[in-house]
Symmetry: C2
Subunit: 345 residues, 2 copies
């Protein structure tokens, strides 16, 4: 396609600042003949306070017209926990069927990690995005009394598990090491565990070149700190994926450089790309936020839209910048400028 | 009491070897006037293969007569995943209402950790043990078809949440730093999240000296590797507790030294003490297993039974041993002998 029609959601806190840098780099890397059109949306805490709305049907209709969505961050302490998460972020992931939640982790030489010995880390987590404990199923009875019961229902379907497992096998197949690890807790969550494990084993037959492996989620957290090099591609449930990708980000350069794509591979709906970090209200507006995670999310966006060469150029620019970064303290804007300059040259 | 009537479940894999050392140290530390009686049970993979039984009503009746239970490890690759976990380990925790699953983490000077810079780590996780996603509620329809749906229901009650939150506040109150962190995912699991958060905030009123804090489970995994010193006492749900205590063990000396107590504070039923590590069949029978986690579990057992001085002596012996351990390779038996000698002197 010779134009990209992008929905931009800066959102709350540092969202505004980091998205500006993402757009700067995107504009710099695109060939002249690709026209970039952007439409900005004002979702987030301010709109919620002003109107009580988080994401309406009309909003979804409007967002649907775009090729992709770039999101900064949504969330503010002034809004009760869960309102924007369930009412915006998860509502959007579910409405647009973002079932492949893609989260790469790569530790670059020289980049700070809490782990000793600078281990090799280069893997990608394929987190299911539309099922599991995230469906909002469940409820409360006798709320606020000594007899309250609250339930959360994890819903797992053959359809939902198979498509994400298949996506993960295809990604593993396309990587040099061709290794896929299923992470679950099938010894305790036996109903969902059987479905995941049986599906994984069945789809594996179609990918004889891919080496497979299974780890309980608790054991996976151990290996993420003692032997992260063992991972190539991981496929896992929505909640386990949420947990292990934050840990993965922490060990591979920090949440400031962790990108993610909420992908609908069918393209029936636009996919959404966002840094894993949140809105960080404590440092908002100070030019301190690291826009790298947003810029890497732009690379995932470019790849998703078929601009592989440009995606690779953005990633190479980030890798060069990170490796040379050292202890220098730069503003959000300076990092964005440096990355834009690198991709343009 | 001047006698301890202990049920001993060596179990599978390295369970036999490590439990032998735990008993050795227990015998060495007890004053002469305390009589130690032990009864060994043959639960685990062998019995399951021979009889098809994991834990019968008669077994529970028999176990109930003891003051406490010492468990090595249960689990073997020859048994399908989930059979012994649900049929033995979880069945026992639920039958004896082990609602306080206590898991201390302490990194000692000189002990290997995957984290750079040898951070200070000294906290305890109070994991709920009888609710949450561990209840076995849920099910499967259309199994094995393209239309399979598998659910897992997390069940959370005011009764169950309050008693473990209260226990955690009391533990925090008794520690020098008096800090308690609630770990949950209340922005997504809003039904259970509200119950946990509301209960936590309410009980906090009764403990004005305790500083409180809340972290989402994903953020907690980040801090466990970037700033573990921030933790003093953590209280959390059954599944989140499972995950973060394995990570906590990994960063604070490894799974070889992580102890746990499955505690029923009411003493209506015997509490059970076990190392966090599993049966490790790959190294079973070779004298390679580290019995330290079992010995530290014996310390928790002693404390639970009111033998505080003896518990402290076992912990001091382990701390001295770990600090002086260095790179020397010792057998399971040699470590047990060394610890027994230390507590006896
Ligand atoms: C904010 C929250 C709803 C979200 C999630 O749990 O998925 C976040 O933690 C993430 O990982 O994108
Ligand atoms: C073996 C399994 C049932 C158990 C659990 O999930 O609780 C284990 O991982 C643990 O942490 O004690």
């Amino acid at each position: 396609s010779h134009s990209i029609n992008l929905a931009v959601i800066p959102g709350d806190g540092i969202g505004q600042e980091v998205v500006a840098q993402g757009l700067k780099v995107l504009a710099a890397v695109l060939p002249q003949d690709v026209k970039l059109e952007t439409e900005e949306y004002d979702f987030g805490a301010r709109r919620y306070h002003a109107t009580g709305e988080t994401l309406t049907d009309a909003d979804l209709e409007s967002l649907k017209k775009h090729d992709a969505i770039l999101l900064g961050a949504i969330g503010d302490p002034s809004v009760p926990s869960g309102v924007l998460e369930r009412g915006f972020l998860l509502k959007l992931r579910f409405a647009f069927d973002h079932h492949v939640n893609l989260r790469p982790s790569k530790l670059l030489p020289g980049v700070a990690t809490p782990l000793a010995g600078q281990p090799e880390i280069d893997f990608v987590v394929v987190r299911e995005g539309t099922e599991g404990p995230y469906t909002g199923n469940g409820g409360t009875i006798r709320k606020g009394t000594a007899h309250e019961v609250a339930t959360e229902v994890s819903v797992n379907t053959a359809f939902g598990v198979e498509r994400v497992v298949r996506d993960a096998f295809a990604r593993a197949q396309a990587r040099p090491r061709k290794k896929l690890t299923l992470v679950h807790k099938n010894n305790v969550l036996t109903f969902a565990g059987h479905l995941w494990t049986d599906t994984f084993d069945r789809v594996a037959q179609e990918f004889p070149e891919v080496t497979t492996d299974y780890l309980h989620v608790d054991a996976a957290t151990i290996f993420l700190v003692t032997d992260p090099a063992r991972f190539d591609v991981i496929v896992t449930d929505n909640l386990f994926g949420d947990i292990i990708t934050d840990l993965a980000a922490a060990v591979s350069g920090g949440i400031g450089v962790a990108a993610s794509g909420n992908i609908n591979p069918s393209r029936d709906f636009p996919s959404m790309f966002e840094p894993v970090h949140g809105s960080a209200p404590d440092i908002a507006g100070q030019g301190k936020a690291d826009p790298t995670a947003t810029v890497l999310s732009v690379a995932l966006l470019l790849r998703h839209l078929g601009h592989e060469a440009e995606a690779a150029r953005v990633e190479a620019a980030v890798e060069a910048d990170l490796t040379e970064r050292g202890a220098a303290v730069r503003t959000t804007d300076e990092i964005g400028d440096a990355l834009a300059a690198r991709v343009a040259s």
